[in-house]
């Protein structure tokens, strides 16, 4: 019977070590992260996520963006992320402190999205890319996300956020393609993806 007790104790104790270090410890310590304050300008970083980007994060998860896109930039010594212009510096825990859900991702079939909101600032670019990825990058292997849009008859003036589509994607005359609330939230979220501010623990690498 002592053998069985030893087994139970060992099984719990050994697993408990990893649980404390890799689950409980980050849960507690990362709750204590605070913004960094620039001493010269008094500017705070990072800033919270604007608009509907938190809802957009849910759309990002629901449609599985994270299975092909990552959201972190490795240090220069650990890969070519910075040379690929996916970010000016590596990302650190503090960069994610305002994200309700964090999708680091483990695949890069698509580009890293840590700073996609810095590379592309026009919502129209995102709408066109989501409606037909081949419209913004002819060789793209990304699937189209048509259900984030509706095609409807133009009532009076065309909507401000109607997607500018060309060629076979263009809606019939008198109709327009507009993003749904989900589509808008997703683009808000993507626009909020940027770490273009300095942090003391992750300075930009100097050449």
């Amino acid at each position: 019977m002592n053998r069985a007790k030893g087994l139970f104790f060992g099984v719990f104790f050994l697993f408990g070590l990893s649980w404390l270090a890799l689950a409980a410890y980050p849960y507690i310590t990362f709750a204590g992260l605070r913004q960094s304050k620039d001493e010269a300008t008094g500017a705070l970083a990072p800033l919270g996520n604007p608009g509907t980007s938190d809802q957009g994060a849910r759309v990002y998860a629901a449609n599985g963006c994270l299975y092909c896109h990552s959201q972190y930039v490795r240090d220069k010594s650990e890969g070519s992320d910075i040379e690929r212009k996916w970010g000016k510096r590596r990302t650190v825990a503090r960069d994610y402190m305002f994200d309700r859900a964090v999708f680091l991702g483990t695949s890069r079939l698509g580009a890293d999205l840590t700073n996609v909101g810095d590379r592309q600032t026009d919502p129209q670019w995102f709408y066109r890319a989501l409606y037909n990825p081949r419209a913004t990058a002819p060789e793209s292997v990304m699937p189209a996300y048509r259900w984030l849009f509706t095609t409807r008859e133009i009532q009076g003036q065309p909507s401000a956020d109607a997607v500018k589509l060309e060629g076979t994607d263009a809606p019939p005359r008198g109709y327009e393609v507009v993003p749904t609330a989900e589509g808008k939230a997703l683009v808000d979220y993507l626009l909020s993806r940027k770490t273009n501010y300095p942090l003391p623990e992750a300075p930009e690498p100097t050449e």
């Binding site: 087994l7 050994l14 599985g64 299975y67 402190m97 483990t106 695949s107 292997v141 259900w147």
Partner: protein
């Protein structure tokens, strides 16, 4: 230990084990459907089967549906079924209260169905391998607690005497899974963990899921069945003990190797790399033990399906362990991280190692529980060869494609679309490989269903199956702790 009552024990546990095994096969087929769809969609972004207007059939949903169906539907149902069968055999006591595991199986199936429908409907958590929303996770946890507690009562009710290493693996797996699944869901999906903590908890969970749930279930099964099928005791008892405790020590630490260079404290990632490299020790212990147990006997045995599957599974475990240690070192991870190499590695573990061992267990257990032959031996051979060729081809395609992808990503001069062009042919090969594996699964499921449903005694007995069914009754050479 007196083993004359094995068939009595088998009879007492027949219904709950068969329900879990059948549920596993059912979800394996559902997972196969998602698998084939997802692996066809990934390289043909404009084909009709990518369903551009249909959200619930898009790649972003079929892929997590496949993984969750495969791991929680197939692997976990099969694992629970085989696990409770093993515990019952070891306890040497016929079982009571078999209503509990039946209830658990029904609840578990409901949980998977709710979870998969939620993933397809878009109610995903976005946490990898924990995509099921909290309500589905709660149903699953409830089911697991019922069957887990019941499994513990089997262990407590056992006939006094020595315990075996297999038993340790299975019990450990049940305890570890209930812990990891509950805390990961509570921390991530019931309460919302601080953003930067989420990847750490998520990958602690995934590492543990592979190394402390699926791995010990498969190893516990192999440690019992391989010696039984070969007809001699396990080679070294000390090695087996060492393998168990080193796995228990390292298993919870391996996950962060997927986040090398990620926004986590450096010590977490370093600890994970060290654990993953040290993981070679339990892998070698198991490999040496099985090899020396089987050595010289394998050729004498003829075509025994259970043993064939188990031997391939054990070999895949060795390969999986070695590859895991390799691709976790910082130098190699720089190339392989974010690429299909890691997908191939995961498939080698999930299919090549875990599923092959569990398939072998099915071919051993099901005929004993039903007290009749496994039907369609031709399908068994098809299942075996399609599985072996399929997983080999899949590993080749994902590893070669992944390496090219990795070197491409490493060179900032090569555009992302040029990288996807380069790996296009390999993604086509992986699609063919997945098709082979899906066909193998279908053949297996068809023969399993026939065996289960056709009660008439069969006139023509297959020599191949017979050798597996009759040989091992007389001997019980598993490792015991004195």
């Amino acid at each position: 230990m007196e083993r004359s009552d094995l068939s009595v024990i088998d009879r007492s546990i027949r219904i709950p084990v068969l329900i879990f095994l059948a549920s596993g096969v059912f979800w394996l087929i559902v997972a196969s459907g998602f698998w084939l769809l997802a692996s066809s969609q990934i390289h043909t972004p404009t084909a009709w089967w990518t369903f551009p207007g249909v959200a619930w059939l898009s790649f972003g949903r079929t892929y997590p549906a496949f993984l969750n169906c495969f791991v929680y539907g197939w692997a976990t149902c099969a694992g629970i079924g085989v696990g409770i069968w093993l515990l019952a055999r070891f306890s040497s006591v016929p079982l009571r209260n078999s209503l509990f595991p039946i209830l658990a199986a029904a609840t578990w199936n409901i949980g998977i169905a709710v979870g998969v429908l939620s993933v397809m409907g878009g109610a995903t958590t976005g946490k990898q391998m924990l995509e099921f929303p909290s309500y589905a996770a709660f149903i699953l946890f409830l089911a697991f607690v019922i069957v887990g507690l019941w499994a513990l009562t089997i262990f407590w009710a056992r006939r006094p005497g020595p315990t075996c290493v297999s038993q340790w693996y299975i019990l450990g797996a049940f305890l570890w899974f209930s812990w990891m699944y509950s805390t990961a869901n509570i921390l991530l999906n019931f309460t919302s963990a601080p953003g930067p903590a989420q990847p750490a908890i998520n990958w602690w969970y995934i590492g543990s899921l592979i190394d402390l749930w699926l791995t010990p279930i498969a190893l516990g099964t192999a440690y019992y069945l391989i010696p039984k099928l070969v007809g001699r005791p396990i080679y070294s008892y000390q090695l087996a003990l060492f393998g168990f405790w080193s796995l228990a020590f390292l298993g919870g630490w391996t996950g962060m190797t997927h986040l090398i260079g990620g926004p986590l404290p450096a010590w977490m990632i370093t600890a994970s790399i060290v654990a993953r490299v040290l993981m070679i020790l339990p892998v070698l212990a198991v490999a040496a033990n099985f090899h020396l147990t089987i050595k010289g006997k394998f050729e004498d045995l003829g075509w025994n399906p259970a043993l064939r599957f188990m031997v391939i599974g054990a070999m895949a475990y060795t390969a999986y362990g070695f590859e895991g240690s390799l691709i976790s070192t910082r130098t190699i991870a720089q190339i392989t991280q974010f690429t299909f190499v890691t997908f191939g590695h995961a498939q080698l573990g999930l299919f090549g190692f875990f599923s092959m061992i569990l398939f072998g267990a099915y071919y051993y257990i099901v005929p004993r529980l039903l007290e009749r032959q496994w039907l369609l031996p031709g399908f068994t051979k098809l299942h075996f060869w399609f599985s072996v060729v399929g997983i080999g081809l899949l590993l080749f395609a994902l590893t070669m494609g992944g390496l090219i992808q990795g070197f491409g990503l490493q060179d900032p001069q090569i555009s992302m679309s040029a990288v996807s062009d380069l790996i296009g042919p390999f993604l086509l090969i992986q699609n063919v490989a997945v098709l082979l594996l899906v066909l193998a699964n279908l053949g297996f499921a068809f023969a399993f269903a026939l065996t289960l449903l056709i009660t008439a005694p069969l006139k023509r007995r297959s020599a191949a199956i017979e050798s597996s069914a009759d040989a091992p009754r007389k001997i019980a050479p598993e490792v015991t702790v004195a």
